[in-house]
Amino acid sequence: MANRPQPRFPEPHTEPFWEGAQQGELRYQRCDSAGCESDVVFYPRQHCPACGGNDLSWHVSKGEGSVYTFSVVRQNRMPGFIDLGAYSVAYVDLDEGFRMMSSVVGVDDPTTDIAIGQRVRVDFEKQDEGDYPIPVFRPI
């Protein structure tokens, strides 16, 4: 059914994120350094891009957010996508304040049924092969 490329390891930055995905958790980081004004840290990193510190903690998102922007890909010859037909790629703004690349799935026609500002919720899409389900989003 779904055959998206899997994350590859060893890769220390993103390993906790993907362990979370295996447990149905959408994880993100916050900086705990005293005096740092940063809010959330995402993509996963081993330092805070606002202060350079390495005192980061992992948190679990509620998994709800809004579509910031999107595209519907009509042409991609990569394995895993060549048979999908038109599919969406989106940047989703999670309510906790981080923006992630993902896909909005579960609509009849991605060319007409996705909109900027649309409310969406994370779903962990099981893959045919590989150990990691992929976080995608469905309209709420």
């Binding site: 994350p7 993103t14 994120f17 922007t69 595209s71 890909v73 010859r77 923006r99 896909s103």
Partner: protein, 395 residues
């Protein structure tokens, strides 16, 4: 602020073919360097600085010096995607002003068309596990989809229409039809309809990644070129009038939580370049803007200050970007990446055509053109990218 005129483009060459089977990228670079030196009236051994984006089969930079048989005192291998050449020009300008070198060569060669490289629609495969790939590879975001997401947001936020974006494709095709090398490019690459186009044609072309249509996307060609940048002393003895580098700016931008995807690195690099040059956008005759896609031009013209953010739609309506509109600025008068030449990293062609215009050698010549801007955008407009802005002035 007074313009410092210490470095000038003195020699240029654009490789004439866009489909060149059996030719290596290194051949294209060497042929172009030889021709650009000849254009300047300089010798192979005059070169004392190499700026290289690490393209070509041999691997660029260190390998290029060895391949050419030169021993430069400056070797700059900045690779920041399609804007590498604007960065190179900025560095050459700086190095020449500092007295570190006198004759700098920039070159580019690529065989993307003959090698069938799917730049915009292919997979972005990385050799080793890394954080960026792990977070993005599962979603199949092609390069075109990345730029398309910027267009989608621009349309949403500012009400910019497909017809307005199409005006950018129409203007560049108008210029391409006057450039025999661009016409040959479109013919050799088997474009459907090597002719002037209308906004309707653009909207009727197939969607590659919503909301970008095929005629809003650059071609994938072979090609390359070279340019020679020299000190004022050397420039005075060259064959052609110098085209001065009077300002340059560099910047990088990336996606941030809560950030504005419709603002590019040009918003940072542009003001730096214009301030150094002591000129304003409304004085610019020729706008050589990296047209990987219509959205790239739209965002970069706004960010460079040609119009306020979000107002590119009304700004381009009425055809002002055509070289013969009488309004200006004239956009990509060679035909651009959309209709003349895009082997992967177009930045060098922006400088080449800017120089041609200020010499009076363009096939879509703007009478009396005095000032040009070359603005390259490298990487992904909706992700991590660079902006390099160079202001050029007629002697």
């Amino acid at each position: 602020m007074a313009q410092e005129r210490q470095a000038a483009i003195v020699g240029i060459h654009e490789y004439p073919l866009r489909v060149a089977p059996g030719v290596s990228a290194m051949n294209i670079k060497v042929d172009s360097i030889r021709a650009a030196l000849d254009d300047a009236g300089l010798k192979w051994s005059d070169v004392d600085a190499i700026y290289d984006a690490q393209d070509g089969e041999a691997g660029g930079g260190l390998q290029l010096a060895a391949y050419l048989g030169l021993r430069p005192t400056i070797l700059d291998t900045t690779q920041v995607g399609g804007s590498s050449y604007e960065f190179h020009a900025a560095h050459a300008m700086r190095d020449i002003a500092a007295g570190k070198c006198n004759v700098a060569v920039l070159s580019y060669g690529s065989t993307s068309a003959s090698n069938r490289v799917a730049i915009g629609t292919g997979g972005r495969v990385t050799p080793a596990p890394n954080w960026a790939a792990n977070m993005e590879m599962p979603y199949g975001a092609t390069l075109i989809a990345n730029y398309a997401m910027v267009k989608q947001r621009h349309m949403h936020e500012y009400g910019t229409t497909d017809e307005q974006f199409a005006g950018i494709s129409v203007a560049t095709r108008h210029h391409a039809m006057r450039n025999p090398e661009a016409v040959k490019a479109m013919t050799d690459l088997q474009f459907v309809g090597v002719n002037e186009i209308t906004p309707r044609d653009v909207l009727d072309s197939r969607v590659v990644a919503d909301p970008l249509h095929l005629l809003e996307c650059c071609m994938i060609s072979d090609g390359g070129g070279a340019l020679i940048i020299a000190s004022a002393d050397v420039a005075r003895g060259c064959r052609k009038p110098p085209v001065w580098l009077i300002g340059a700016g560099e910047a990088t931008k990336y996606r941030e939580n809560g950030g504005d995807i419709t603002t590019s690195a040009g918003a940072q690099s542009g003001p730096i370049a214009f301030a150094e040059a002591g000129v304003a956008p409304d004085e610019i005759d020729i706008a050589m803007i990296y047209d990987s896609f219509t959205i790239t031009v739209a965002v970069c013209l706004e960010d460079l200050g040609f119009c306020p953010k979000g107002e590119i739609g009304p700004y381009v309506e009425g055809g002002r970007l055509a070289f013969d509109s009488g309004e200006g600025p004239a956009l990509n008068t060679d035909g651009g990446g959309l209709s003349s030449n895009h082997p992967g990293m177009r930045g060098i062609f922006l400088l080449l055509e800017g120089a041609r215009q200020l010499r009076g050698e363009s096939t879509s010549q703007v009478p009396g053109a005095r000032l040009a801007v070359a603005h390259g955008n490298g990487g992904l407009l909706g992700g991590t990218h660079t902006g390099g802005t160079v202001i050029l002035a007629k002697d």
